[in-house]
């Protein structure tokens, strides 16, 4: 098994409901959904975020979309206009979770190398 950062295996989007952030994580490849399901347990996600999540982490499964949905309770400094956080609406908890490392078979690690990141030498184009 090889450690791989989740950013190479999945994409994600996050949002807010009051003081709770949600992170939906979607496998790029359906075949990798079971790896996510095994290793992205609520406990592992809670441990990953540490003090950033004051309350519990709850997980829901959406096998139809090869996706997991996490609710991170007490993650937004009170939420809404109460929060003093730059990310008061939890918009980038998504990529925060994609920093996590999980164990995958060596051939999977090789296959997903570079996935999810801007290719080297890329530029936005246009003039100037």
């Amino acid at each position: 098994m090889t450690k791989v950062q989740l950013v190479h295996l999945a994409h994600a989007r996050s949002g807010d409901k009051g003081d709770t952030a949600n992170v939906g994580v979607i496998a790029y490849d359906e075949a990798h959904y079971c790896l996510l399901r095994e290793q992205l347990t609520p406990e592992a996600v809670k441990a990953h975020f540490g003090e950033m999540v004051k309350g519990d982490v709850e997980r829901f499964e959406l096998p139809n979309l090869s996706a997991l949905n996490f609710l991170l309770y007490g993650a937004l400094g009170g939420g809404g206009t109460m929060s003093l956080m730059n990310d008061a609406q939890g918009k980038v908890f998504s990529t925060g979770l994609l920093r996590m490392e999980i164990d995958v078979p060596a051939d999977v690690a090789e296959a997903v190398k570079g996935r999810g990141r801007v290719p080297e030498g890329w530029s936005p184009g246009g003039e100037g």
């Binding site: 409901k17 009051g18 979309l65 956080m85 730059n86």
Partner: protein, 460 residues
């Protein structure tokens, strides 16, 4: 055309108050659509509108909507495109009046009708509701509303499709509501078009999914999208979503030809998980949808087919969105440069906190972040490298006492001459003191609201 093969096209033109002003124009001019839905409201929007209305009685709605309609009204009337929006905010009446005037200026007098939906606003009824035994308890803490009722700034029930369906049935071409549920702006017209029965849970749930995909504008057509975002073409001219819905509730998500962005299985899936709770229990006023039953087929050419959606009966309650004053806050920033930028920023933060302490000021919270290092991923990123070229120190405070927050805003700039060196980025002046509007979600028996809903149709 038979009902089986008929398709109703509902285009999304705004995902929030402040979205791309040109998007609704592109939707109306870019190809055939039947409805244009414009979602302007979020949790905090209603309280902002309530404050605007307190200052000026004719305000309190999404003002952008009126000049927009003045631009697109003639084209909508010509093409038979009907508009459904919650732009009315806390003053749908004022919004509808301004809309009628805009229609006259646009030359559609006698050729269009405006539908007005009121009754979601519970602000003036709170005392009576509490006296009648409605606790309006906080959905998470269980505390009754009576504990903070004096501080309430706005209170609106999320209402469903019924008044939209009624207004469409009475011939309204543009429908203005207050706190309509975002998704009802899409599934309301579908119930009207296809005559879905109230107990046709699966089809209405499919309409809810269509509404959820539509309600954030370009967030399902390539905007804010993580999948190969660098390859998504022509985002300057991004196409907003259109759902093409059939009578059986299946639908295709797409966008106008010739627009930028992307519609794929992945872009739609990302939007489906946005702001999701328990996916099997997506509650709306008209149905409970099960998002684990959604099936997506990527048909290619920016078309994704959605089918298989299941739903269950509605609950006996409506959600109420309440905003209440809860103190004051301010956030100040300064930029520190190499060398040792992060060390300087942290030293400045320590000095600032000591000064606030010496002044005897008390805050409920002081929060320090280094923009350019940890303000998005917090402790996940560890310690900054010693050679980091620059960081922005960002300090926020929150207190019940406005004077303490005011004084804090005067303690940032002095750090430029009285703190660590190589500091800049203070040209914006003192931070602004903001009133905190806390959010109080509650439930109320639906009849309490539904008995007060009114639908009125006016000629332009």
């Amino acid at each position: 055309m038979s009902d089986e093969s008929r398709v109703v096209r509902i285009a999304s033109g705004q995902g929030f108050w402040g979205d791309d002003l040109e998007a609704p124009v592109r939707q109306v001019e870019g190809g055939p659509i039947d409805y244009l839905m414009l979602d302007y409201l979020a949790e905090v929007t209603m309280s902002i509108m309530q404050k605007q209305r307190a200052r000026s009685p004719e305000a309190g709605y999404a003002r952008d909507f009126v000049p927009l309609m003045e631009r697109i009204f003639p084209k909508c009337v010509e093409d038979g495109v009907r508009v459904v929006t919650n732009a009315g905010g806390v003053n749908p009446e004022g919004c509808a009046e301004a809309l009628v005037e805009a229609g006259r200026r646009a030359g559609v007098q006698g050729r269009a009708r405006v539908g007005l939906v009121t009754g979601d606003d519970l602000m003036d009824r709170l005392e009576d509701l509490i006296a009648d035994g409605h606790e309006l308890a906080h959905m998470e803490t269980g505390e009754p509303l009576s504990t903070i009722v004096e501080q309430v700034q706005s209170a609106n029930a999320y209402i469903g499709a019924a008044p939209i369906v009624e207004a469409l049935g009475k011939g309204a071409d543009v429908i203005v509501t207050g706190r309509s549920t975002d998704t009802a702006l899409t599934y309301g017209p579908l119930i009207h078009e296809f005559g879905w029965a109230a107990d046709d849970h699966d089809r209405i749930a499919a309409g809810v999914v269509a509404g959820h995909i539509n309600e954030c504008g370009a967030q399902c057509t390539g905007g804010n999208c993580l999948i190969d975002w660098w390859e998504i073409p022509d985002m300057a001219n991004v196409g907003f979503p259109i759902v093409e819905v059939s009578a059986d509730g299946t639908f295709v998500v797409t966008k106008h030809p010739g627009t930028g962005g992307r519609v794929s299985r992945a872009t739609v899936a990302e939007q489906i998980v946005y702001e999701m709770g328990d996916p099997t229990d997506y509650i709306t006023p008209d149905v409970v949808a099960d998002f684990t039953t959604i099936h997506l087929d990527d048909l290619g050419n920016h078309r994704v087919r959605v089918h298989g959606v299941k739903g269950g009966p509605r609950t006996d309650f409506l959600k109420v969105s309440i905003a209440y004053s809860s103190g004051w806050k301010a956030t100040g920033t300064l930029t520190y440069a190499w060398p040792d930028a992060a060390a300087k920023a942290r030293a400045a933060d320590r000095i600032l906190r000591e000064r606030l302490d010496r002044l005897g000021l008390h805050f409920d919270e002081i929060r320090t972040e280094l923009v350019g290092w940890d303000s998005t991923h917090g402790a996940l990123v560890g310690e900054p490298p010693a050679d980091i070229p620059e960081v922005q120190l960002r300090v926020g405070v929150r207190a019940a006492d406005r004077a303490a927050v005011e004084r804090f805003t005067r303690e940032i700039a002095p750090l430029v001459l009285t703190g660590p060196p190589s500091v800049t980025g203070f040209a914006g002046g003192r931070p602004r003191v903001q009133e905190i509007m806390a959010y109080w979600p509650a439930l109320v028996r639906r009849g309490v609201v539904e008995d007060h809903l009114r639908v009125e149709v006016r000629e332009v």
